[in-house]
Amino acid sequence: MKIKLSGNLARFVDYQRELDIELPGELTVNAAIEQLVNAYPGLHDVIYDKQGDIKKGYLIAYNGKKLEPNQRDQPVNAQGCIDLFTAVAGG
């Protein structure tokens, strides 16, 4: 499946705009993002808070539809696309 990241995260994934993630089996949105972070460990502290949850500063969409935090356990498929948007960053 594909995962697209906000541009401010690009430097943690070698500036790739779109990433192909292998799905080892049936995965949820949360699990697919974990797969991504396993592949690019530099993302871990950027995306997850100290409790291991995705930080509130991120918006996640699956196939173009925004997901609330409690909807991120829905299954994804190999043709799907997750967008991980940074809600705001301080500069």
Partner: protein, 279 residues
């Protein structure tokens, strides 16, 4: 305690001007630079210190630029940029700064900025969430600099008025991609560039005109009088966008309204810019 203005003298430089007036983006750039002078001189906090020690950042949410009187490159040898006053507004979640640009004792432009306070997570991407001024920062403000009331947002008020009372006389689209020359340290668009994207949309609309019954082309020779900017959504490196520009005649007065759309982010409205011209 009274206000604590900070004033910085700057030399005249042709890069600051277009053929008609002071570039809007440089008014904003110098305003922000002067804001950090104010912070450092009046509170002892620098931008790196705000991020590292206080885990705070801020993002621009509204800019109001008013060209008060004509001012050109050869009108002075130097000019002054100032922070006249600072207010923590709306439960300390917004900073409001009032800037003036003057030369030889006369103000030629005013800038009002609204900054939304962020609480940063401390990661390298400067990820944040909207928050309030932490006590460690707030205690360095004077009582007169804290105003709990809600600040005035001008853009939506004017946009509603223009679209309600005005006659639509032209429309255009300007597609763009956000590359790094338009970004700040978080690979996020710099608020300075938003008026420039809007004016590019206006100029593209005018340049594409085959007929010009409303004499829009003549506005290329008229200086802007006011530029209002509202930023409502971030824009990051490589994201695709579009400026949708609409020209209105409002009681005989020309107004351009620009909607900046983030196409990559589910076509979210990212900013609104309203331009009017000097009489």
């Amino acid at each position: 305690m009274s206000e604590r203005p900070v004033r910085v003298m700057r030399p005249m430089d042709p890069m600051l001007f277009d053929p008609l007036q002071f570039h809007t983006r440089y008014l904003l750039l110098l305003s922000k630079s002067c804001m950090w002078s104010w912070f450092y001189e009046r509170t002892g906090i620098s931008f790196p210190g705000l991020v590292r020690k206080h885990h705070q950042g801020l993002v621009a949410v509204e800019c109001d630029v008013e060209y008060v009187r004509p001012f050109g490159l050869f009108d002075s040898d130097e000019f002054c940029v100032s922070v006249e006053r600072v207010r923590a507004r709306q439960g300390n979640s917004v900073l409001e700064l009032f800037h003036e640009f003057s030369a030889q004792g006369q103000v030629f432009a005013k800038v009002r900025m609204l900054w939304r306070m962020l609480e940063l997570d401390g990661d390298q991407a400067l990820t944040g969430a909207p928050g309030v001024l932490r006590d460690s920062v707030l205690q360095r403000l004077e009582p007169c600099e804290i105003d709990p009331s809600r600040e005035l947002r001008q853009v939506e008020v004017l946009r509603t008025q223009v679209e309600g009372e005005g006659e639509k006389i032209g429309e255009g689209h300007y597609p763009f991609t956000l590359y790094r020359h338009l970004c700040e340290v978080a690979d996020q668009w710099s608020f300075l560039e938003v008026p420039g994207l809007a004016s590019a949309g206006r100029e593209r609309l005018i340049d594409a005109l085959e007929q010009d019954p409303f004499k829009l082309r003549a506005t290329l020779g008229r200086p802007l009088g006011q530029v209002l900017v509202k930023i409502s959504c971030p824009f990051y490196l490589f994201e695709e966008g579009e400026v949708k520009t609409t020209a209105f005649s409002v009681h005989g007065r020309l107004v351009f309204v620009h909607r900046v759309i983030n196409l990559t982010r589910m076509s979210t409205l990212a900013a609104v810019v309203i331009e009017t011209f000097q009489d």
